[in-house]
Assembly symmetry: C2
C-alpha cells in the first residue's frame, strides 16, 4: 500500500483540483482515481482531499504531496541515469524544427527543463520556414520536428503532444460576442488577421472557412501580441490557441468564442526518424515537452495515443 502510482494521483489531483481532470491527464477514468483515493484514505484512516469543488487538500494530503515532490523526481532521475548506463553514455544531439509560430511560447520552457536533465545532449533550433518540415528529417538537417498533423510518412515516427482549442478572437462589444459560438459564415463580413503562414497551416482556414467556401478579407501580423492588438482595435477577427490568448482574455482586452458548436480543436505532435525513436534521451525530450505543456498551458487536453505515465 502507498505506491508511486498513488503519489502521481495525489500530485495530479492537487494540480487539477478535480478527479475528472486528473484522470484525463493520467489517462485513466475518474472511476479508477476514485477507487485509488478511497482505498488509500481507508487504509490509513485519513482524508486526503475534502470533496469540494475544487478539491481541497487536507494536512494529510499535503504530507503525501510533499512526499511525492521529494520522491518522484528522484525516481525520474534514476530512470535517466539507467538509460545513460544502458547506452554507455553516448552523447546525443537534438536539432529541432518548429512549424508553428506560437509554439515557441511553450517550447522554450520545455527545452530549459530538458536541459537540466540531459545537459550532455546538444540542442539546436533549425531556423527559417520550410515548405516540408518532414523532409528535414530525411535530409538529416533536423532530428525532431513539431507538426500539427500525422499524415503517414515512411520512416517517420510521430508522438502526440497535446490538443488545444482554437478560439475566435474579437473586440469587446463586437456584435458576434452575443453568440455562444461562431460559425464559418460569421467570418465572412470581417477581416481575418493571421500569421504570415500558408493556409494549410491555418486551422480556421483549412478546416472551417475553406470547406464552407468563405473567403474573408485578410491581414497579416507576425506576433501574437500584434494580432491581439489589431483585434482589440476593431481591425478584424482572429483565431488563436486558447492558451495563447488566455492572459488577454483575463484582462478583458478582447473577447473569445468557440468556433463551431463543439469548438475547433487542433493537435500537436513530434515527428522523428523512426530509427531515432528508441533512444531514451529522445523519448524523454518528448515526454518533457508534454509534461511542461500540461504544467504551463491552460485548457489543453491529452491526445489519444499518449504514452502512459512510466
Amino acid at each position: 500500500m502507498l505506491t508511486l502510482k498513488h503519489l502521481r494521483v495525489i500530485e495530479a489531483l492537487n494540480e487539477t483540483g478535480s478527479l475528472t481532470r486528473a484522470a484525463t491527464r493520467l489517462h485513466l477514468t475518474q472511476s479508477a482515481l476514485s477507487h485509488q483515493l478511497v482505498a488509500l484514505e481507508a487504509h490509513y484512516g485519513v482524508v486526503l482531499f475534502e470533496r469540494s469543488r475544487p478539491l481541497r487538500v487536507t494536512p494529510a494530503g499535503v504530507r503525501l504531496l510533499q512526499l511525492a515532490q521529494e520522491v518522484l523526481p528522484k525516481m525520474e532521475a534514476a530512470r535517466r541515469d539507467l538509460a545513460r548506463l544502458a547506452e554507455d553514455n553516448q552523447p546525443g544531439r537534438l536539432r529541432i524544427a518548429v512549424e508553428c509560430h506560437t509554439c515557441y511560447d511553450w517550447l522554450m520552457p520545455g527545452m530549459d527543463a530538458y536541459r537540466a536533465h540531459w545537459p550532455e545532449v546538444e540542442m539546436d533550433l533549425v531556423g527559417g520556414f520550410h515548405t516540408d518540415p518532414l523532409a528535414l528529417l530525411a535530409e538529416d538537417k533536423a532530428d525532431l520536428v513539431i507538426v500539427s498533423e500525422t499524415a503517414r510518412h515512411k520512416g517517420v515516427a510521430f508522438s502526440p503532444l497535446f490538443r488545444y482549442e482554437m478560439l475566435a478572437l474579437m473586440a469587446t462589444g463586437h456584435a458576434l460576442a452575443a453568440r455562444a459560438y461562431l460559425s464559418a459564415q460569421d467570418f465572412a463580413q470581417d477581416t481575418l488577421i493571421t500569421y504570415p503562414a500558408p493556409d494549410r497551416l491555418l486551422d480556421v482556414v483549412r478546416r472551417v472557412l475553406k470547406p464552407a467556401g468563405v473567403n474573408p478579407e485578410r491581414r497579416l501580423a507576425e506576433l501574437t501580441i500584434a494580432i491581439v492588438q489589431l483585434v482589440a482595435s476593431r481591425k478584424g477577427l482572429a483565431a488563436l490557441p486558447a492558451w495563447a490568448v488566455q492572459p488577454f482574455l483575463e484582462r478583458g482586452y478582447v473577447v473569445a468564442r468557440p468556433i463551431g458548436k463543439k469548438g475547433l480543436w487542433s493537435g500537436l505532435y513530434t515527428a522523428a526518424r523512426a530509427s531515432d525513436a528508441p533512444r531514451a534521451f529522445h523519448r524523454d525530450f518528448v515526454d518533457t515537452l508534454r509534461e511542461q505543456a500540461f504544467m504551463t498551458l491552460p485548457g489543453i487536453e491529452p491526445l489519444a495515443g499518449s504514452p502512459h505515465p512510466r
Copy 2:
C-alpha cells in the same frame, strides 16, 4: 515500471547476496524475485547484478541501490506521519517486558532505531523476572512482552519476530566436535551450562533433554560471555542462539554443532493486549524490531505469519 517493490528487491539482494535469501526475507519465492529482476533488467537494458555467488552489484545496480536508500526511508517516514495524523497525534506508551536474557542484544539497537522514528512514544523496560510475563499485560504493568511461544491466551495478540537456531557449544577439540550434529544422549556425560532460568524457558532442556529423559549435571552463569568462557575452559556444554555465539565461533574460541539432525529452532514473538494491536506506533515497534533483527543477527529466518512488507 520501476516500482517501490523493485527497490525493496534490489536492497534485499544487495544485503543478502542471493536471490534465495532475499526471497525468504521478503516472503516471496526466489522465482518471483527472478521474474522481477529479469524484467527490470530487460526493461532498461542493463544488468543490475552479476550472477555470481554471492551476487555482485553492477554500476547500474548501485544507482538503483542509491535510489532505494533515498526513497524508501522517505516513504516510511510519510507512512508514520499519516499514522500520527490519523490518530490525532495522541502520544503512546510502550512498557516492554523481556523473558529471555540474550534478547537484550538485539532489543537495544531495535529500540534505538524506533526512538528515532517515534520520539513522542514513551518507552520503558519492565525489569525483573516474572513467572507469567503474559500476566503483566492483563495487569496493565506492561504493554508488550517478548516471548518464545504463542500459546493461546485470551485477549492477547502475538506477532512473530523471527526464528533462530540453538547451537550446542563445546570446547575446541572436544570429542563431540567430530559429530555432524548432537543428539540428546550426547549431553548425558557432560555438564550443561545455562542461564539461571526455569527449565521451561531453556529450549534444549524442554524440547530435547527432558523428552529423552536425559538429565545432565548443571551449572549456571548469568552472562553469555561467561557461559562461553566456561565452555572454552572445558567445564561443560551449552546451548545458545547461533547469532549470540557467532563472534566467538569466528575467532575459534569454541566450536558449535546443531542439536538434532534438523537442528533445534526456536521462535520469538511479541505479545500485546489485543486492544492495543491496531495502534500504528505499536505495530511499527514490532516491525522495527523485526527489521533490525534481520539487519544485525546472522542466520535468523522469518517466521510463518510475518506480515508482508507494506
